[in-house]
Assembly symmetry: C2
Homo-oligomer: 187 residues x 2
């Protein structure tokens, strides 16, 4: 096997690269990491997924934050099974990061609520609750409800990175349990 | 509540729209539906997700196909728990479709294998198997192995559609069980 491939980056670069991609997702509307996919276990026992907006990323603590409505299905799903994955896919770079997390739902703080722009507050609240059958779209009324504003705190346990854009495919896994030292994997 | 919102499309349009978005994903490299996210239940019990390439979409049968390596973790996960979600997210249109499926893995047919371009065949096979620890990227060897070429057949049971791009958010669910007649949901 060809050990001396000139294009292989140091292992640590793959971890740095993930956080460098996550950071702009918090602030920039068009960053690839703006939208992640949150995969949970559904109440029926199968895999569930939806697109979410990244609200905070803290590399030092290995923590990501999302905002949601306390009445959403994902809160119920995460309460029953907190082990979930946040998926980052950056199409131009052909980089995928699977962040395996333990996710806890907690009420948003006043400080967090103050930072939500006025029109966006209507995403937290309203009736009937999300996912409930209605007769026509007009039977739903959006309304801001401070009490339903919920923060999902995702403590990252493991990051599985895949680079498909280079001379060959690279894959590595980094785990909190060993201080993120990392391990190459077969892609 | 405002029943007579001029922008509300007929319910059936939301289902048509999903299949019209899926179709180009099969043939066009840059279609938003080229890459879906497959969410499964991991062997550790939590939600897992990865990006996959859509290989076939058949509206009449309500069937989607993906290709994979029989040695990949998703085959083991789907064998243990076939209930999974395929997620379509179309950023310019701000349309999301969550396709809840029962997914079965079967060997790819000769006809399917013939349609896989030569360089892409190396994605099915190689050693060590995907996800196995290696000392350096050079310790993995890609190799085509016809015997490991696997097709994932996803029978769609339910489609949960969300439109965020219009004058107001629209959400509906369509189910095989009632002939896909559809139901508006609170977004």
């Amino acid at each position: 096997m060809d050990q001396a491939y000139p294009a292989d980056p140091p292992l640590a670069d793959l971890l740095n690269d993930v956080w460098l991609r996550l950071d702009p997702g918090v602030a920039e509307r068009n960053a690839p990491a703006r939208h992640l996919v949150l995969a949970t276990v559904g109440r029926g026992g199968g895999g569930e997924a939806r697109t979410v907006v990244l609200r905070a990323a803290d590399r030092r603590q290995g923590l990501l934050c999302l905002h949601t409505d306390s009445a959403s299905a994902k809160v119920a799903e995460l309460t029953a099974q907190p082990l979930a994955t946040l998926l980052l896919w950056d199409p131009p770079a052909q980089v995928q990061a699977r962040l395996r997390c333990t996710i806890a739902a907690r009420p948003g703080t006043d400080e967090e609520w103050q930072r939500v722009p006025d029109p966006s507050r209507r995403a937290y609240g309203g009736g009937p609750p999300p996912g409930r059958p209605i007769l026509s779209p007009g039977d739903y009324g959006a309304d801001a409800d401070r009490a339903r504003f919920t923060v999902l705190e995702a403590e990252v346990a493991e990051i599985d990175v895949l680079h498909l854009g280079g001379l060959r495919h690279l894959r590595a896994r980094f785990a909190r349990s060993d201080g993120w030292q990392g391990q190459w994997l077969a892609p």
